[in-house]
Amino acid sequence: MQIFHRSTNTISRATIFGAIFIVAVLLWASIQFQRSPYVTYAEVARPQPAPFSHQHHVAGLGIDCRYCHTSIETSSFAGIPPTKTCMNCHSQIWTGAPMLEPVRESFRTGKSLVWNRVNDLPDFVYFNHSIHINKGVGCNTCHEPVDRMPLMYNFASLQMEWCLDCHRAPEKYLRPRDQVFNMRYEQPSSGKPIVVDGKSYTEQLSLGTDLVHKYNLRSVADITSCSTCHR
């Protein structure tokens, strides 16, 4: 007995294609969604106890990152400044400003200011600032020009593919060590060459390749092995 007419064969074939298509689109959409700021929080500012502006303090006043993030060169953790660091200056500057009241209160009572984390890797990932700083990866390669951020947000997704993109070819990003804290650093170009050890570079790849040797980077196989970041 025939329930369906012959023509339904084509329809069912079409729906198989359609279904595959729909599944593919949805898969693609979910991958894109996974990478989107909605999930990674990239470029979203978080609420903070005081509206601390990197733009104001770094670009406006010329304060070095290390004045506040003191442990960055020697430890895995950059360090968030304690209230005392703010009070070095704010004991005398803007002493009446209401937006600084939480800072003063914290100083009076000894209770820590609770800053909300902006960059937050999952706990199963090991990350270490000092090695990146000491091997010539600039802050703004990962954090974008912080000195233009009135409020902090993270630019990069901090996903594994982002880390690996650099670990597979660090020469694309390396810069001389003394430029790591320079938020206005530009990669070398023929208009603006960069001189290292008396040699002038006009192109990132040749500079990067030489820095890889100069700073004794380990092999790509080493730093892309799973146990480098998952230990």
């Binding site: 969604f33 004045y67 003191t70 968030i80 500057i93 706990d123 199963f124 810069r175 001389p176 603006k192």
Partner: protein
């Protein structure tokens, strides 16, 4: 198999995919302490415990008292606890520029950016009053502060405090330096500071006397003839970016 069931199946599977892709918990936030994570166990909410009084942490046995106090007995000393080499001096310059220049300015005249924004006038290290102080005193001021000067004990390690003290001395010598202080073979194209001008054509000494511009780009240390370490002429410094 009916088409309906088939469709429902795909819909279910894909929506499950979509929903799952939004999840990021399970192992992301594990119940362990990482630096600065708060604690629900301790009353003060800190996971990092404070050191108990009368205990000595590893690496904090300060046997060389002078290195850690800058004092001989109760008197501030005027010598360094370790030899001052070129490397120490460079470290001192770097640390000074990070921690002190916001108020004391890069040339040490006390007219840094924060002072310009209303902070108490900081000490001018070239004033007789401050120039005649001992390096032990500089060390002590960095460690414990003095008057309106905040203490930097938490931000700067003891050896770095000495390096900064050494660099302040270098700044003071540099202010009074003359061409005859520079070894003949290193003079190259260097000019005496009395002949130098800023990029706006103001004589350098006058610019310095009026406070420079106090910003990060005031007197380019290292290119001035009075710098403690004049670079070899024609030899670019590491990482110099040409305009």
């Amino acid at each position: 198999m009916s088409r309906r069931l088939y469709l429902r199946g795909t819909l279910l599977a894909t929506s499950a995919l979509l929903i799952l892709s939004g999840c990021r918990q399970d192992m992301h936030n594990q119940p362990k302490y990482v630096p600065y994570r708060s604690s629900e166990f301790f009353q003060d909410g800190l996971s990092e415990r404070q050191q108990l009084v009368h205990t000595v942490a590893r690496g904090e046995l300060h046997e060389d008292a002078y290195l850690y106090t800058g004092k001989i007995g109760i008197k501030e000393g005027d010598r360094f606890p370790f030899p001052i080499t070129q490397a120490v001096m460079e470290r001192g310059r770097e640390r000074y520029d990070i921690y002190c220049s916001p108020c004391h300015s890069r040339v040490g005249d006390g007219n840094g950016m924060i002072v310009k924004r209303g902070y108490r006038q900081a000490a001018n290290f070239h004033d007789q009053k401050y120039a005649s102080q001992t390096v032990g005193h500089y060390y002590d001021v960095i460690s414990h502060g003095s008057g309106a000067m905040p203490d930097y004990g938490a931000q700067i390690d003891p050896p770095d405090r000495w390096a900064i003290a050494a660099y302040i001395r270098a700044l003071q010598y540099a202010r009074n330096g003359a061409m005859s202080d520079v070894p003949a073979d290193q003079r190259g194209q260097l000019k005496d500071q009395s002949e130098m001008t800023t990029k706006d054509g103001v004589p350098l000494l006058r610019a310095i006397a009026s406070g420079g511009n106090g910003g990060p780009e005031s007197v380019p240390v290292g290119t001035s003839p009075t710098s403690p370490h004049p670079p070899q002429p024609g030899e670019p410094q590491e990482g110099t970016q040409k305009k």
